[in-house]
Amino acid sequence: MSTFSSPDTPEGQPVRPEDGTRRSFMKQAGGLLGLALAPPFVGPAERLAAYSKTVEGVTSLQLKINGTVRSIQAEPRVTLLDALREYLDLTGTKKGCDHGQCGACTVHVDGRRINSCLTLAVMQQGKEITTIEGLAQGDALHPMQEAFLKHDGFQCGYCTPGQIMSGVACVKEGHAGSDDQTREWMSGNLCRCGAYPNIVAAVREVAGKA
């Protein structure tokens, strides 16, 4: 078991925010800020820690996202969703509920669609994670992205990355065989703007070509 003390707060010295002047705050936070800006560096100890059975405190995590291995310093309680959004600035994956109820955070892990808010980043090391940012091939959009554009499968766009990731998986799973089947298998992704008929049209088009 390895335990890491927090990098920014000396052990046993609670922050006292009420009397915190700007200067004293900067002193407290400088450590973390520095760390966040430092180039990713993974020492053997951290690598070991990342794969040990018990992980506590801030740890180095390696996540393979969109074909690239990226390292973050994060606690084991960090969800995959928050790791993407808050630690890696991959904000295309959205947080709509944080409880697996809306599907806005849908990503692919080893080719399967999952709600990234319902899994911890630490558990997804060594797996292939694909987010909306990794779907296009350079400037060439994925056919599902093109179909969403063509059929106006969205309005505000906030559920859209999740819908598209779900749509790609839905076709691949063979669950887009009919409109009714598509509706059922796309019902884990809520859209409050109400683009459902257009989403079905987009999935139908891609499924028809597949």
Partner: protein
Amino acid sequence: MDTAEPTFFDTNPKAGVVGQPLNRVDGRDKVTGKAKYSAEFNQLPGLVHAVLKTSDVAKGRITGFDTSAAMKQPGVLAILTHQNLPKLAKTPNDAEGKKAIGAPMGFLPLTTDQIHYAGQPVAIVVADTLERAQYAAALLKVQVAAEKPIASYEDPQAKLFDPTKVQDGKAPAHVVRGNAQAAFAAAPVQLTHTYTHAINHHNPMEPGATTAHWEAPDRLTIYDATQGVTRTQKAVSTMLGLSAEQVRVVTKYLGGGFGCKGSSWPHTILTVQAAKAVGRPVKLSLTRPQMFTGMGHREDQTQTLKMGATRDGKLTALIHEKTSTTSPWDNYAESNSKIINMLYACENFEASYQLARANVMTSTFTRAPGEAPGSFALESSLDDLAYQLGIDPLEIRLRNYAEKDPGTGQAWSSKSLKECYARGAELFGWSKRNPKAGATRDGRLLVGWGMATASYPVHNSQGTARARLYADGHAVVQAGATDLGTGTYTVMTQVAADALFLPVDKVRFELGDTKLPTAPNSGGSVAAGTVSSSVYMAAQDVWQKLIKVAVLDKKSPLYRAKAADVEVKQGRLQLKNNPQKGEDFAAIMKRAEMADIEGNGQGRYGSGYEDAQAAANADPAKKDQAADHSMHSFGAHFCEVKVDPDLGTVRVTRWVSVHGAGRILNAKTARSQIIGGSIFGIGAALMEGTVRDQNYSRYTNASLADYHIPVNADIPEMTVEFIDEKDPHINAMGVKGIGEISMVGVSAAVANAVFHATGKRVRSLPITPDKVLATKPVQA
């Protein structure tokens, strides 16, 4: 004397890209994940996270905090409460402050020890990471002396009162026209029915979010999930005692709003205060449960509608009473009676409101505020009348067709409702309807067809825009509007392209920033009409300035021409009476060595536009003709449902909506908006309802698992059409807006279809299976 302003009808009699079903110009950013919403500005230096600690009790007093465990947590930077948060220059806690701030709520949390509603923020916890802030907030202990709350107008402790005004002071609470009581008493046919509506929450997919960045001690930038950057700027700057220009508000992408992001709510100023306290940019997103107590809702309400009619189905009296819950400080009630007053010809009308204060968050405008629940009562009762008298539901609406606005006596600026009825009926196959309720089956399922009328007013609004045309043939056009997902980026690009005679891909439209010219809040369906007119007028200003350059340029074929004699066609400046004489704008700019030229325009929408146009018109006879119109969009919804007679489940299986809403700027995005509004209405009709525990005044289903919004499998293929409608009275573009009308009448169309399927009239929304099973069929 002013001359009347140019209009798109005159300068662009044949629209180019305006109206075309273009793909969204911002679509690529949205499908690739590049679009940045308000909680996604992670590059701010030293950005830290805040979470709200909220009250579990609905009424009481905070007696203390135990911060010891929370503060021991690593990374915690601040725990801010009413005890240590610096005082604001102004709060909405008094009437003067509320007015100055333009707040929706007459109470700001963290200013006192009082708890007025469950979910009220009582502390902000700031930490270096989100997880640490969340955990510290969980460890923070709040000591509260709890009291028994009042939960709603139905609470025995609640005291009903007559407000003088409702809907945030915007609508009178008592309206009388003719003598409705006497007319009702004398009516050969009398219907009195009571309708209830559950609490609805907007639940946009993007939660409320604010990122606050103090760039200097007196200069602030806020990335805020708001439908109006100017409104947030006004609210925050006033509370802080700063001038408006010291506060910049940015909203580049908004993940839906539906009314709940139309005001500046407490979390925004609290995030700003937290950022000040820690001296770092702070980001705060409401959690989904906090969305149920953080940004308003559609209030729980009961409506009683008395309808008097002749035996041939003509309305003689409408008496409407509404009772609803409001917060401890606000008199908010949706003005349901507005649509009841104007939708059908009826000489006698009376409406009144009653409110009760309860320990709840204040309610606020929710898509089609008033029109949606008001039309549910009116259109359900009218359906009853039709069945009772043996008249087709569509026919009874035609018999009561209002040739002018019954409420004001004004002529309509335009009204295509008859065309909407006819086209909708044709698309739906209405003529094949079995007139008998409960008599059509598909296997064991009961099949029902229902319809309802939709309408929404053209409000009075204005805004400004800026257009910069470059000599190389591209343009940047700006207005501080917001795009809720409705397509503002796209449709304004189309308008600018036509008005400047440029290809769409040569126009960039920018919005969502208080540094840009001021646009109204995107709400009440005003954005499309106001901003498109502003953009159009800014383009006209560009041309007027260029004409001045040309007529003073000795080398121009237009040298010494009168500016009034010059017109612009396809980007070419030419003499009206001799079009050969003229030249392209680029040639004029090149000779003048102008890289670009900028125009500004003010767009007006609604009565303010008509009045100004009339005043500017030199012909007094024409002036009377132009002014004084009642301005509304109209439409009709047709719905098929299938009802399981054993389970009481209702599924919408077919849908047709036809609207006449002035000029449609983009056929594709407009169709999406109508589909979306109809689905929003189907949600309210069949499944949406937030349940408030009547003992503790807390919501019992504040999550997306328990508050059901429609999912893909709930929605069939939908057919949407628009009637081509030219309305020169409403604004320079002839655009009415379609954000709200899309859901008006929807719940009634569904309820009427349920009645046709089952013979059961459910007057309580949502129409859940238990209600369908418990309701007895009406005896024919």
